[in-house]
Symmetry: C2
Subunit: 534 residues, 2 copies
């Protein structure tokens, strides 16, 4: 149905892949790290190796049949998100939880008809944007008493419907992918400049539903701040907020939608606030004698009011493993940009703060930054990372990530606890050491958003189970140190137990009551945000 086909088992489209050079680099890095000679490589799954349960939903109404697919490719493609945990199961040819139907609405009327039908037959509905969830947000693993699962893929709702140049805003359909959005905005000289790592394979609606965080390392980091209004379809009908630059009229209706992860409805369109394309850009890489000197510098920058676009502190091991910097010291990827005025003085002020904390400037650049700067190398590794995943899984290498945010005063303890807990969990679970690294993705005046990556070599047959056990240890550690269970990866099904610990109990009850008013039969993404009934 989709002209350019997405890989059903891994990141990206079928015409995209890591290059042989990239794969060799991954192999050599991790062979050296784990002290092994070579990796056994498992082939990626092919459709004819996969067995799916017959779909539980059979009688699709004639009027909806043209929108619905039940072939193996579509059902397999929509069985998982794109985490390592998902990949490990896909490489095991485990597609036990495939959706029964994959529906592609062409417009809102289609979507209304689909929701009505699902509500009538009590099928669970999984809203699907780019399918890049790393937290089980789109996985049809639903325990409750439903007649089946219908995944609704928003692929065709991908137009810019209206541009208001004067107010620098646009009304956009929720199913649009990042690159498509930017390409269409560019025709108007505008940009959203919202570049999460999933940019290529995620949608505006997905960003809003999961409260994604994007390009800007400080200031307006979340998509939340770029949303002017939202239109959502719920089983009870449409929910649309008035388009406003700001409003103090009661609790924000949009904030009742953002972060609900499809548990109350499907976002169909949104007015978004846009930016002008940056004209001035500067970048620099700074190294520090040790991680906590870097942390102190970044804290000072976060409280300076300078608001860098980029301010990503990467610890020494992560800098080395990503082939960005081999100096055995942490690096800070720093950058400023503006559409209107030069930002050199901001950069110089930030570099002064770095020097005050023992920072040494490795390079500086103008414009987008050459690829041969340390920051350029890091950025490239960041963008290409998702394409490596399938090749690491094929080689039995577990690479997982988790992220949080915590006040500055709690960071040192959280960092120590997490690194220690996860390192030990890796040894305990897999029998040999792995790596645990940390960087900051976003910074706030009152605390950082640290992002952790771990690598290990689990048992080939138990990759999913072992990785999951380590993830659970990590989540417990983050939670016990007062961090949030997620800064921007969302809750999904994976984070639900910790999310329920974190949120106020009464909020959980209040939100569940809200959900019931718009989704009486509880069909919307069951088990996400609101737990399935026991």
């Amino acid at each position: 149905m989709t002209e350019r086909r997405r890989k059903f088992y891994a990141w990206g489209f079928e015409d995209q892949s890591a290059t042989p050079e990239e794969i060799r680099l991954v192999e050599s890095t991790w062979a050296e790290q784990f002290g092994i000679d070579r990796f056994d490589v498992i082939d990626p799954p092919k459709l004819d190796e996969i067995e799916l349960q017959p779909p539980r939903i059979r009688n699709i109404p004639t009027s909806l049949a043209p929108l619905c697919r039940q072939d193996k490719y579509e059902r397999a493609l929509h069985s998982y998100g794109r985490s390592f945990l998902d990949g490990a199961r896909m490489f095991k040819r485990d597609f036990a939880h495939a959706p029964d139907v994959v529906a592609y609405p062409r417009n809102e009327a289609d979507l209304v008809a689909l929701l009505d039908w699902c509500d009538e037959i009590r099928a669970a509905v999984i809203p699907f944007g780019g399918g890049s969830s790393v937290v089980g947000g789109v996985n049809p693993e639903i325990k409750g008493d439903y007649t089946g699962v219908v995944t609704i893929d928003m692929w065709y709702l991908n137009e810019i419907l209206e541009v208001d140049r004067e107010s620098r805003s646009a009304r956009v359909q929720a199913g649009i992918y990042g690159p498509d959005l930017e390409r269409k905005l560019k025709e108007h000289g505008l940009t959203l400049r919202f570049f999460p790592q999933s940019f290529e394979m995620s949608t505006l609606g997905g960003w809003i539903a999961t409260r994604a965080a994007g390009h800007f390392a400080s200031g307006a980091t979340y998509i939340d701040d770029y949303v002017e209004s939202i239109r959502m379809l719920t089983p009870a009908g449409p929910w649309e907020s008035r388009r406003l630059p700001a409003s103090g009229a009661g609790p924000s209706p949009d904030r009742f939608v953002m972060g609900t992860e499809g548990s109350t409805g499907i976002i169909t369109e949104s007015w978004i606030r846009l930016l002008e394309r940056p004209r001035y850009k500067v970048g620099a890489t700074v190294t520090f004698p040790d991680f906590h000197s870097g942390v102190a510098a970044v804290r000072a920058i976060s409280q300076s009011g300078l608001d860098p676009t980029n301010c990503r502190l990467v610890d020494a091991l992560e800098a080395q493993l990503t082939k960005s910097y081999d100096g055995g010291k942490p690096i800070l990827v720093l950058g400023f940009e503006s559409p209107r005025y030069p930002v050199d003085s901001e950069q110089q002020l930030a570099l002064e703060i770095c020097r005050d904390h023992g920072g040494e400037v490795l390079d500086q650049s103008e414009g987008s930054g050459a690829n041969n700067t340390v920051s350029g190398l890091w950025r490239n590794a960041f963008i290409r990372g998702p394409y490596y995943r399938e090749h690491m899984i094929a080689r039995g290498i577990c690479r997982e990530t988790f992220e949080t945010a915590v006040p500055w005063s709690g960071f040192r303890q959280l960092h120590e606890t997490v690194i220690d807990t996860v390192s030990r969990a890796i040894v305990r679970v897999t029998g040999r050491p792995g790596t645990v690294t940390c960087r900051f993705t976003h910074i706030y005046p009152n605390g950082p958003a640290p992002y952790f990556t771990f690598h290990c070599l689990p048992d080939r047959d138990r990759m999913y189970e072992q990785c999951l056990e380590i993830k659970h240890a990590a989540a417990d550690a983050v939670d016990s140190c007062g961090g949030t269970i997620t800064h921007h990866h969302a809750v999904g099904r994976l984070h639900m137990p910790w999310y329920q610990r974190q949120r106020p109990d009464l909020f959980g009850l209040a939100f569940a009551a809200s959900k019931r008013t718009v989704d009486t039969n509880g069909i919307m993404n069951p088990g996400v945000i609101v737990p399935e009934k026991p």
Copy 2:
């Protein structure tokens, strides 16, 4: 009970007042404006002129009796907020809706006991911070079937409980007044720099409950952005969010509290993000050939990324009536500040934008700005304004305000419609012309927050009714042009009909369901945000 007594019938404390010079200036301005020789002056109400209904609640439990007051001063003080509409009724000696009990909890245990008691006897509870509401948010005008009204005044919950210097945050009790908060933060070299016009007579909890907007004209304008976590007591128990710099874990629980205006519980404390005191400040006043040239300049500034601290465009008539500038042209009060680095270049860039739109710089200043600049005169009129109100009411002058926000593309039509509608409503209702003026209080890249003020001379006996009729015409005009019913004055009881039109219908149902989970008996500020049952 309160050492320094608040005026029961007007803005401020009993030891504060407008000066005789200020009163003379008000008189001469408006005598000239309305073309009359002199004003008949009505004396402010005295307690012994007022008759209150006997309290409906009589049997206060012994354990709570020390917290509760039923004397005339306390009941009168808590009968109204501080709008013109409130004042008009107070000067008419109309205190028909006095609360039955005014309770002063000393701590959270007191508050729990009070809420339990109110829930048990089904008394309506009105949370009371500084009582500065201009939208009937604290007025005990409740139609439903309650045994009475208990107003809970948070006066004694006014401590800073904890300061986290490293994370630049503090845990503060909700009943603290603005000046007290800043005085106590100053001891730590910190500031919230949150200065709504109500600053002197409003509280942290009130700001959060009503989503107040403060000092900063652009960027982080709302208190929302300074809230790290909230603790609220509801009839069902405490609701407390985890203290975090940012989180993407589900919809924000704090955003479910901010803007609820006491309809779900009483905020008792909050972790707030603080700022350093500004070290660099610059200001300027610019005038423009006409209002819409100024609008165009401000729009360009709002989209430049410069983020001025002050950017208040004041139309020619408002500049003249506030005695700020008599040149028959609009003024722009512009300012930048920073704790860390000079902001002159930002100011110069903004002034360049102004000149591109025909702006002429009237004055520039460093530091806080001398009082003899046009901006200084305007600021003084702004701060002193609330103190004039009682003297205007005494003279039969109606002065009311309303405010909104709208995309830039909708502003011109909204502005024309509102000025025209309200001007004509004044003539129709009062039989003679008044004034309607406009300024911008806050600006966003996608639209301004215009603030309108009208003055007229209603019938002395029907001041409340006539002013209300004009307000309704204004609200209809704002609503019909797509503006929000309020940018920062909140909803209260006054704005409910337009709020219900503005918000998504399903959101209204969803929020009402949320409320029921924490306030089963519907005792919390009935009729605000969630309509009373018909």
